[in-house]
Amino acid sequence: MTTAFRRLLVVTLLFGLDLPAAAAGETPQQVIAAAARKVVKIYGAGGLRGLEGYQSGIIVTPDGKIATAASTVLDSDEIDCVLDDGRRFRARLVGVDPRRELALLAIDAEGLPAFAPAAAERAAAGTRVLALSNLFGVAVGDERVSVQRGVVSAVVPLAARRGAADAPYRGAVYVLDCTTNNPGSAGGALVDARGRLLGMLGKELRSTASGIWLNYALPTDELARGCAEIEAGTVARPAAVEVRPFDPRRLGIVLVPDLLDSTPAYVESLVPDSPAARAGLVRDDLVIAVNGRAVPSRAAVERTLGELAAGDPVRLAVVRDGAVVDVDLGPRPQDKETR
């Protein structure tokens, strides 16, 4: 062990319990400050709870190309990027890679500090990492984005969903032991101990297998490929998003048999002591809305329930004796298929 490395190890043990060993000559604090200059705060559409109007982005070229997560935040003509030094730029959406859920923005700037995703760094399970993002939108103006420390837990194909919709990207991701699954984190930077880009922090998704919230990052090689395809206009179209219908019997509702193209969602019977029975739903109720969305058919009920995530509250509007009655069924259970 070299003396320099030994000293570094001691410093790390003393002052950086969980910080990865930094490059010789640079303190972890300096590495973080340098990496943070390449992360931007992005503001766009949203602003409601559960639908935040902000996220993070990574500067990938000195002339103002910024990679970020494709999300509803970008559904706006007014996307603003705020740099580490507080400068604010109106961004142009260059393009979107729907499969990787990646978007490329451009701002009119020169000489920016930038990551070099082309020089792909690789991480493996056990790699100590730092995550930089504007989680919870806590930093504004020239305030520095947040940094968290963690470890790569696994490098595995992503199997995730948002509600019941499967996430389109199925390639490899870094699964992180680091809570990056926070509002505003998506699009942030995952870097190694020397501040080199390892990946882009992912969106708020749940594991398809377990339903738990995932902390993950899109590896840099995929990020670079996606950015190149967006610029070249060769982005592949993703498979159509597939929604798994949800069987209302899981809530205790037996609807009339689905015999027509558009069978009205009449309640045929109720499973005794089920959530639906306890909530006061009765035979012959006609379900007309699920969580405020009109459901003209039995199939629509199953589809709309399927778009909810397990644990989401279920609220039905039913027609009973000519009047509309609201019924709260409590949280939606898991799919049969998932454990």
Binding site: L13, Q29, E52, Y54, V138, A139, G141, V147, T180
Partner: protein, 593 residues
């Protein structure tokens, strides 16, 4: 699930050992004693901090954490932790013992409480670090009572790094504002509230009290916030004073202009800032010595300052720079603070969607404003534990007036120990900086000043607000009379005198030096005037502010140097207008105390 009955200390050591097992083993392989020594030092640092960690139990109302900051038992915590407990509570320490504790002071706006553990004068404690030196990436750890797990009174440790500094977290209504706070990824869970956040050396850099929570409910998601040690230091004097401390407002609202400057968008003409010349559209350059480049930065600076402090303000208008000292006003009226304490203030407005929930209390804790146990009525202290009897005095306007008397008498004792306390006649004579001689004589029956412009005399036994003398000074003689009376007769014989708290010895030094020294302040309402006397650590008065009318500029007297217990230089000004600088010559032999 049953857990093997290992003591938490063993668990802590075990956890710490596990955390660096990878390192340690590789180090072992290399035979690196240095690494093992570093590991042992960290375990020892955590052990020392654990000893100062307090587990607070407020019965059915929940509980939380605290941290001891003095050997005689003063411990910091959160307002939202102690509020449900009321005036007395039980506090557990790492030694496995439960101590009676009593509330000392509160800062509802900053979510801070000071309590005093009883029964020892050799409590383990930690020292406050300079939190302005904390940087993102610094190692940090929290010691506390998450989920009220410390039923055996031993704290839990969670470690991480500093994620951000100078963060601003909006208040709930007007209280529980986290300004200039430290953001960490160490796990901060409900119950950690009030506990210490420590640096690698085990010094206190903050008090944990808040976290951003999201869809997973009220559990850690790697985003906790701590009140900075420097803010705590600013308020410590007010808390020790047994007060309900209030935060500061400039009396002006700021906004970001189209070109990105922070400008005054509204200002009260009754504010000191207005009297000092601040106007609508002026740009704020710095406040209290800290640059203001965003509205958040402005709120961050203000949020760490107590009402009543004088701080430097730099503004710009039309390319010209203005520097002045400005006196900060209070966010609340005393009645509003009393209502907050009684828990009957109107609910705070709905916070914006992105605002995280507040954290605190038992597993999920109180969601709204913390309700308080009603204080025992005067004379009805029979239900209190024997240890706290005589230490509880919930007088209106105070969290616990008992501690005000303690601090007031401490300062008064230091004043009375000075050489001049025994002298009957105080004579100060010398030359004015502007030219000419002066002579001041203070006695029981008359206070006189001779200036080149003439003689002024007042009767110290009469009302002092009738005729501020000498003309133009705003009441220099009255200020000197209050000073002499306090030193000679003591606070009990000087109108209504309380311990105000602490304030910067030299406000102009704020921001220029690390941890600027604070001095004790006594407040006297006597004979129609109100005075604040600044007393340094040696028991010498170093400054007096005297108001003959509220909401007007006081007479500001500043002392420097020392000639046989009397100041060598007396600087007198009113607002920004200097009145005189008096240079005291060595006192004549007959006047020597």
């Amino acid at each position: 699930m049953p857990v093997p009955s290992l003591s938490p200390r063993v668990w802590i050591a075990f956890g710490a050992a596990l955390a660096c097992a990878g390192w340690a083993m590789s180090a072992w392989a290399a035979g690196d004693a240095e690494v093992l020594a570093a590991e042992r030092r960290r375990v020892e640092t955590i052990r020392r901090a654990s000893a100062a960690a307090v587990s607070i139990f407020a019965g059915a109302a929940g509980g939380g954490s605290g941290v001891l900051v003095s050997p005689d038992g003063y411990a910091l915590s959160n307002f939202h932790v102690t509020q449900p407990a009321g005036l007395v509570m039980k506090c557990g320490l790492d030694d496995g013992r439960l101590y009676d504790a009593v509330l000392v002071g509160l800062d509802p706006t900053g979510d801070v409480a000071l309590v005093k553990l009883l029964g020892r004068d050799d409590f383990p404690f930690v020292t406050l670090a300079d939190s302005d030196l904390v940087e993102p990436g610094d190692f940090c750890f929290a010691a506390g009572n998450p989920f009220l797990l410390a039923t055996d009174l031993r704290p839990s440790i969670s470690a991480g790094i500093v994620s951000g500094v100078h963060r601003y977290q909006f208040p709930a209504g007007t209280i529980l504002e986290y300004a200039d706070c430290i953001q960490v990824d160490a796990a901060i869970n409900p119950g950690n509230s009030g506990g210490g956040l420590f640096d690698a050396a085990g010094r206190l850099i903050g008090v944990n009290g808040r976290a951003s929570f999201e869809k997973r409910g009220r559990v850690n998601v790697g985003v906790g916030y701590a009140i900075s040690a420097n803010q705590l230091r600013n308020f410590m004097g007010l808390l020790r004073a047994g007060r309900i401390a209030d935060h500061a407002t400039l009396g002006a609202v700021v906004a970001t202009s189209a070109d990105g400057r922070v400008v005054v968008s509204d200002i009260l003409d009754a504010s000191d800032a207005w009297r000092r010349g601040l106007r609508h559209d002026d740009e704020i350059v710095s406040l209290a010595g800290r640059p203001v480049r965003t509205v958040n930065a402005f709120k961050n600076v203000l949020g760490t300052l107590p009402a009543g402090w004088q701080v430097p303000l730099v503004s710009r208008r039309g390319g010209r720079r203005y520097e002045t000292l400005v006196r900060l006003a209070a966010v609340h009226t005393p009645a509003e603070l009393a209502a907050i304490l009684a828990g009957d203030a109107s609910e705070p407005g709905k916070e914006r969607g992105k605002e995280p929930e507040r954290e605190g209390g038992r597993d999920g804790g109180p969601e709204g404003r913390p309700a308080r146990k009603p204080p025992p009525a005067a004379g009805q202290h029979d239900g209190l534990p024997a240890a706290v009897r005589g230490l509880v005095d919930p007088r209106p306007g105070f969290a616990n007036h008992h501690f005000n008397v303690v601090e007031r008498d401490r300062v008064a004792k230091a004043l009375a120990a000075g050489a001049i306390a025994k002298a009957d006649r105080w004579v100060l004579a010398g030359t004015l900086a502007a030219g000419g001689d002066f002579r001041i004589e203070l006695a029981d029956d008359a206070a006189t000043i001779d200036l080149p412009t003439g003689r002024s005399t007042i009767d110290p036994r009469a009302d002092l607000d009738v005729r501020p003398e000498p003309p133009g000074s705003g009441g220099l003689l009255a200020a000197l009379v209050v000073w002499r009376r306090l030193v000679r007769a003591g606070p009990a014989a000087t109108g209504r005198t309380t311990y105000w708290g602490t304030a910067p010895a030299d406000p102009a030094a704020l921001g220029a030096v690390a941890m600027p020294p604070l001095v004790d302040v006594l407040e006297s309402a006597v004979a129609g005037v109100e005075a604040r006397l600044f007393v340094d650590g040696a028991g010498r008065v170093v400054g007096i502010d005297l108001w003959t009318a509220p909401d007007a500029d006081p007479c500001e007297v500043r002392f420097a140097g020392d000639v046989d217990g009397l100041p060598a230089v007396i600087d007198v000004r009113r607002g920004t207008v200097p009145f005189a600088t008096l240079r005291v010559a060595a006192p004549a032999a007959g006047d020597r105390p």
